[in-house]
Structures are given as structure tokens and as C-alpha cells.
């Protein structure tokens, strides 16, 4: 977790607006996941359905191919495992399989 200095009410933008964009990069929000998606590169056919369905944009993509999963932001919702047409993603209880960490 990045450390932020707590500011006074008149030192932050009004209305809770966060300026600057790309704010998720500053906040690791994956720490309450109870199930972890495990990506099997050998089974993957690179259809990118997981990437387009992930509500947390947690797939690392390079050259239009899935490289792995961003566990700093993945919430463990399981949508990617559901959507994958070739079962290249399996959900395992958090802590039981820590490879890829």
C-alpha cells in the first residue's frame, strides 16, 4: 500500500474528485481476494475473453497476448474462469496455491 499524507478538507479537490488519472496504479486493491485465478499458458488460445470481461482490468497483455494476472488488483470474482472457453483459468482458494506470486 502506498503511503499518503492525510490532507485537510480544503486541500483536496471538491466532491471526492481524484485528479490525474491512473489512480489504481497507486492503490493495491487485491488484498481481500478469497479465491485466486490460476492462468495456464499452455491451454490458453489467446482469445482475450478474460481480458475483456475482467471488471478490474487485471490481465497483463503484451503483443495482444495474455501474459499473466495482476494479483495486486484482481478481486477473485471468477468471471475470467467462467468465460474462458478452454478452461485455461482455474479458481483456487487463496493461500492454497501461491505459484505466480
Amino acid at each position: 500500500m502506498a503511503e499518503f499524507e492525510l490532507k485537510k478538507y480544503d486541500e483536496v479537490p471538491i466532491g471526492g474528485v481524484v485528479t490525474g488519472g491512473a489512480t489504481p496504479e497507486l492503490n493495491e486493491t487485491g488484498d481481500w481476494r478469497s479465491n485466486r485465478p490460476i492462468f495456464d499458458e499452455d491451454k490458453c488460445i489467446q482469445c482475450l475473453l478474460c481480458w475483456s470481461h475482467c471488471p478490474d482490468a487485471s490481465f497483463y497483455i503484451e503483443d495482444e497476448e495474455v501474459q499473466g494476472i495482476d494479483y495486486d488488483h484482481c478481486k477473485g470474482c471468477g468471471i475470467c474462469a467462467e468465460i474462458c472457453p478452454v478452461d485455461a483459468i482455474t479458481m483456487v482458494p487463496e493461500g492454497e496455491d501461491s505459484e505466480d506470486e
Binding site: L6, V12, G15, G16, V17, T19, G20, G21, A22, T23
Partner: protein, 391 residues
């Protein structure tokens, strides 16, 4: 001076014309009696090409205000209108509009909240929204509803305010009756409301922002303090806008409330909305008989002008505060405000609470005259009094 024209119009038509002249980018609304015709007339203006707004027809008021919040966050000038159950359904998102500092201007055609189901006027709908963070202005007639709708635009979008504004007019009494109202020329309104320059338009992709995010306990309180400060800035800004507006219309607005023959009065009634018209007739009649009576009609209920009202009322002998809504198990909301405003005065007036007009119950001159008579009695009971109800 105004070059406007006096016309016979219903409250609906007057507000729809104010909206047409404001020319908002977006209006999202859902029909509900007695508001529906406002957006109907406005939609006709859009269909006839008289105004360039996007009207979003949604499936509920919850969606209407949600669409308004999205539109306002995008940077669009946004308006809506509702009443009663519609406002109740919308209320969750009204809080969010206020917290996201969305300067949405909304009309509320006051109508009783169910149940029992009733379509007629009282103030229970807007009073339910009084803690939402919306600015509330109550109009006495169609003219005031028109004038305040235009002023609301400037107030909402003032950089020291940036809050939603609710302008109310009594359902049926004002919405469905034809009244003489003077509309300003279109270009005068265009100049008066000016261009809206949003502070953080979401569609400004060169300056990306996150809007409406989650707050942990470490920032929620501070964001609420920002709303407190914005609300505190409202009275001064409202007076500035009133001054400017008075210069271009034939109407004089200079205050957070209207004082009618109040200065030297010993006995005063405080009430909101259209009943002020009836009360003024009674005040005039009693004045002709030598009675020192007067009326205080708040325009602004949120923020509540406590300090100014204390000054206006503290020397009075007795004051009756009329509420057109109930707060079950307590006094009426207007009474509580007036009572709180006077609470630190040593020789404060005797203060009484009257509930009237629930669900459209009539209130006539005689009822108001009786209250002034009541006030002369130093032994008048300080329980809740109910006007024209079969107690």
C-alpha cells in the same frame, strides 16, 4: 429595466419556459403528478426545435437523477423536475449529486408523500430532502418559481457553491393554475445565466479524473466539510445573484426571506410557499383594523437563514410558525429551525407551531385571521395546533 412580456401562464408553462431559456444540455426526468406537464411542455419545446437540449426519458426518478449526475459529471448543464414519490425515489441520488458537487437545478412541484396516497400539495416531499445537501428555495407564485429557476442556475454553478438547487412550487395551487407572469426576453436570460464552465468535466480526456469514488473513514468527514463550507457560502452568493436579477427584471429581490409588513409588527406568522399570498391578504385586512401583524416568508430553507431570521423576529410579541408537513414525534421542520434560531435570545417571542394544508387541505383567510387572534392570548397553549383539521 425589463423588456419582457406579461402573459397568462400556468406554473408548469412558466417553469418550462425558464428551462427553455436556460437551455440546459441535458434534462432527464420521469413523469409524476403534479410535475409532469413541466417536462411535457419542455419536451415540446425540444421537439419544435426551440431549445437544443437532450431529453433523456428514463424508467424512474432514481434513474432520472442518476442520469443527471452522470450528465453533470460529464460537464453538461443539467436540469430535472419531480414531485412527491418521485422525489422520495430520487432521494438516494440527490445526496450523491450534492456530494459530487453537481450543480443540477431541479423543480419540485410540492405534493404530499404517500400514504395514504394523495396527489395534492403539502411540503412533506421537499422536507424529506432537507438534509440531502441540496439548496432549497420555495416560491410563492409562478413568477417566483420562474425567477428562482433562473437565479438557481447561477447559484448552483457559482464556483464557491457548486451544489444542486431545488426550486419548489406548490403542486396544483401553483402548477395547474393560470397566473400572470412576466418572462424575460430570451437573450436577457442567455446573458444572465452565461456559459457553464465545469470544474472537472469527466469528458475532458486530457485531464482525466475519477469521480464519485469510495471514501474510507480517513476522508469521508473532510468531503462532508467541503459541502458544509459550500452551503455556508450560499447566502452571500444568493444575495449577489438576486441583486443582478433585480436589475434586469421589474422585481425586487433582496433577502433570504420576504418580510411583509413585519418591521413594526407585534405578531407574526412564518410560512413557506403559496399560502403566503392568502396570509398577505389577511395581514392587510387586520392592518386596516389597526392590528400590528406581519408575515415572514422564507425563500431559502436550505441553507436556513437563522441569523437573519432571529434579527427579524426577536422583538416580536408572539410568532406562529406554519408547517405543511409533519415530523412524527417532533415539531414541524420549519418550527424547529425558527425555534433554534431564537434559542439564545433572552426575551424571545412566544413561539407556536401550527400544522396546516396536509394532503391539499384548504387554508382560508379566516383560518389565518384566527391564528393572529390566538397569538394575542398570552396563555395560548404551546402544543401543536392543527388548522382546519377535524381534531
Amino acid at each position: 429595466m425589463s423588456n419582457g412580456n406579461r402573459q397568462v401562464l400556468t406554473g408548469h408553462q412558466v417553469v418550462a419556459n425558464a428551462m427553455r431559456q436556460v437551455d440546459p444540455d441535458v434534462v432527464a426526468a420521469y413523469p409524476i403528478t403534479p410535475q409532469s406537464e413541466i417536462v411535457e411542455y419542455f419536451s415540446k419545446f425540444v421537439a419544435d426545435g426551440k431549445v437544443d437540449s437532450e431529453v433523456i426519458t428514463v424508467e424512474s426518478e432514481h434513474s432520472a437523477m442518476s442520469a443527471c449526475v452522470g450528465s453533470s459529471a460529464a460537464g453538461a448543464r443539467t436540469m430535472t423536475a419531480t414531485a412527491s414519490q418521485g422525489l422520495a425515489l430520487m432521494l438516494e441520488i440527490v445526496y450523491i449529486a450534492a456530494s459530487m458537487r453537481a450543480p443540477i437545478v431541479m423543480t419540485v412541484a410540492n405534493r404530499a408523500l404517500s400514504g395514504p396516497i394523495n396527489i395534492h400539495c403539502d411540503h412533506s416531499d421537499s422536507m424529506a430532502a432537507r438534509d440531502s445537501g441540496v439548496i432549497q428555495i420555495y416560491g410563492e407564485d409562478a413568477q417566483e418559481a420562474y425567477d428562482f429557476t433562473l437565479m438557481a442556475q447561477r447559484l448552483a454553478e457559482n464556483e464557491d457553491v457548486l451544489l444542486p438547487v431545488m426550486v419548489t412550487l406548490d403542486g396544483f395551487t401553483l402548477t395547474h393554475t393560470a397566473q400572470v407572469a412576466e418572462l424575460l426576453p430570451d437573450d436577457t436570460v442567455t446573458d444572465f445565466v452565461g456559459e457553464y464552465e465545469p470544474l472537472y468535466p469527466l469528458l475532458d480526456v486530457d485531464n482525466p479524473t475519477t469521480q464519485g469514488p469510495f471514501d474510507m473513514p480517513d476522508y469521508y468527514f473532510e468531503h462532508k466539510l467541503q459541502q458544509v463550507e459550500a452551503m455556508n457560502n450560499v447566502p452571500e452568493k444568493f444575495l449577489e445573484v438576486q441583486e443582478e436579477f433585480s436589475d434586469l427584471s421589474d422585481r425586487e429581490y433582496s433577502g433570504l426571506f420576504e418580510s411583509y409588513r413585519l418591521d413594526d409588527a407585534d405578531y407574526a406568522i412564518v410560512l413557506l410557499g403559496s399560502t403566503a399570498g392568502t396570509a398577505k391578504v389577511v395581514v392587510d385586512e387586520l392592518r386596516d383594523k389597526g392590528k400590528k401583524v406581519g408575515l415572514l416568508k422564507p425563500w431559502m430553507f436550505r441553507p436556513f437563514p437563522a441569523e437573519e431570521m432571529k434579527e427579524a423576529l426577536k422583538e416580536k410579541e408572539a410568532v406562529a410558525v406554519f408547517d405543511r408537513s409533519l415530523s412524527f414525534g417532533s415539531s414541524g421542520p420549519l418550527y424547529l429551525e425558527v425555534s433554534s434560531a431564537l434559542s439564545h435570545e433572552d426575551n424571545k417571542p412566544r413561539l407556536y407551531n401550527y400544522t396546516y394544508g396536509l394532503g391539499g387541505r384548504d387554508i382560508a383567510e379566516g383560518h389565518i385571521a384566527e391564528v393572529f387572534e390566538d397569538l394575542e392570548n398570552p396563555d395560548l397553549e404551546s402544543k401543536m395546533h392543527y388548522i382546519n383539521a377535524r381534531t
